[in-house]
């Protein structure tokens, strides 16, 4: 019993820090950076991706003995696409404004390497519960990078967090200015680069 507990904990927490999908495995950066101008969109995207990875892992794992080896990629792709369509429709129904801002990037979860990568490398070889938790862990690992980048960009770029002003007026009066550069695309690349540097240095210590 003890052994399985530690294994479960390892499956959940390892991808969050030590084996982070974005920072270490370099997966899934494609669709991640464009939604990081605001914290709110980043959080919604992180939740959507976590749910998609978790449930696609679950579905692939449940069917792992039924799916023929030759056509497994197509089968996985269908599962992922179905889940993404559900996520997209749910967002359109309940959070219309945010889904407009996320625009095509929800759809691009399909081609996000994390989803396919976890289905291929983990869910095909592990039982459903463990695969589900692995999906949650990877989704949270991915989401935490997304949220960290969005936090920096929104705070420095527009002086807000989640849409509320957080920089006191006194700062602006004494000459502080928002860094417009943070809102542009290049800033996201550079922040990711610096975060990777920080994380690798901390891990190697």
């Amino acid at each position: 019993m003890r052994r399985t507990e530690t294994k479960i904990l390892k499956v959940i927490f390892e991808p969050i820090w030590k084996n982070n999908p974005v920072m270490i495995q370099i997966l899934g950066i494609c669709s991640s950076l464009a939604v990081t101008v605001q914290l709110q969109t980043a959080i919604v995207m992180a939740i959507a991706l976590t749910l998609v990875v978790a449930f696609s892992n679950l579905a692939v794992s449940v069917m792992r003995n039924v799916i023929p080896r030759n056509i497994r990629i197509i089968a996985e792709l269908c599962i992922v696409a179905t889940l993404v369509i559900i996520a997209d429709e749910l967002l359109k129904a309940f959070m219309y404004d945010i889904s407009k801002q996320l625009s095509v990037f929800v759809g691009l979860i399909i081609t996000n390497c994390i989803v396919m990568g976890r289905a291929e490398s983990f869910a095909l070889a592990n039982p459903p519960l463990l695969s589900f938790l692995d999906g949650i862990g990877n989704g949270v690992g991915y989401g935490s990078v997304l949220i960290a980048v969005a936090f920096i960009r929104e705070l420095l770029g527009s002086g807000k967090l989640l849409g509320f002003d957080v920089i006191p007026r006194a700062f602006y009066l004494s000459g502080y200015e928002n860094m417009g550069f943070m809102l542009l695309a290049p800033a996201a690349f550079i922040i990711i680069g610096l975060l990777v540097w920080l994380q690798r240095t901390l891990i190697n210590k």
């Binding site: 920072m23 370099i26 997966l27 899934g28 950066i29 494609c30 669709s31 991640s32 950076l33 464009a34 792709l77 269908c78 696409a81 179905t82 993404v84 369509i85 997209d88 429709e89 625009s103 095509v104 759809g107 691009l108 399909i110 081609t111 996000n112 390497c113 396919m116 542009l184 695309a185 290049p186 800033a187 996201a188 690349f189 550079i190 990711i192 680069g193 610096l194 990777v196 540097w197 690798r200 240095t201 190697n204």
Partner: protein, 202 residues
């Protein structure tokens, strides 16, 4: 006509699909280590984008869009929610077909592009271009210009990145930053350079 040239130029430089919209990063990061493969993959992506974007336009406007099935006597049907899964299937099918055609007619081209074609089916840039084309409401000609331009822009970015990484090999990069970290930062600097083109309007 001006409009089409504008879309073409814009999709190469200012609205570069990689540097402004972050699409196709995965293959960009893994392939840009080597100059020859970067050129090969760049050509393959350009070709596939130039073909799939207009085909997806036709699929969307004649089968999926709200009211698109009115030619079949079904004007009330809206299948646009199926666009994600249809586009990815169309892309995969076309990539497969292109691979077979190239293999049959040009062994030389096949030996240089062939290995990259299967990779492209899951490249986010291809699906992304198709989805942007729907969202921005391009017509058929505009979508051809947009697809070709995006491909060329992606190729420009990956080839210049390969050149930068060649030089980086001799640079003294701090520990922990080498590899992925410095690549992302140089991509950021390159993206900044591409944004300077935003003054160009047609």
């Amino acid at each position: 006509m001006d409009n089409i040239i504008g879309i073409f130029i814009n999709s190469i430089f200012v609205g570069n699909i990689l540097l402004a919209y972050f699409l196709g990063m995965c293959s960009f990061l893994s392939v840009s280590k080597n100059m020859e493969t970067s050129i090969g993959l760049g050509l393959a992506v350009t070709f596939v984008l130039a073909v799939t974007t207009p085909v997806n336009w036709m699929v969307y406007h004649y089968l999926l869009a709200p009211g698109a099935l009115s030619w079949a006597g079904l004007p009330d049907i809206d299948l646009s929610f199926l666009k994600l899964v249809t586009f990815i299937a169309v892309v995969a099918a076309i990539v497969q077909a292109v691979e077979m055609i190239i293999d049959r007619f040009s062994p030389f081209l096949y030996s240089s592009l062939g290995v990259f074609l299967p990779l492209i089916a899951v490249n986010c840039a291809i699906l992304g271009a198709a989805l942007f084309m729907v969202e921005r409401d391009y017509n058929l000609i505009e979508s051809i210009a947009y697809g070709t331009g995006s491909g060329l822009g992606w190729m420009l970015a990956i080839v210049s990145m390969a050149a930068i990484r060649k030089k980086l090999r001799y640079a003294n990069v701090p520990e922990g930053l080498e590899g992925f970290g410095i690549t992302m930062i140089s991509t950021g600097l390159m993206a900044m350079a591409f944004m300077l083109f935003s003054g160009i309007t047609m």
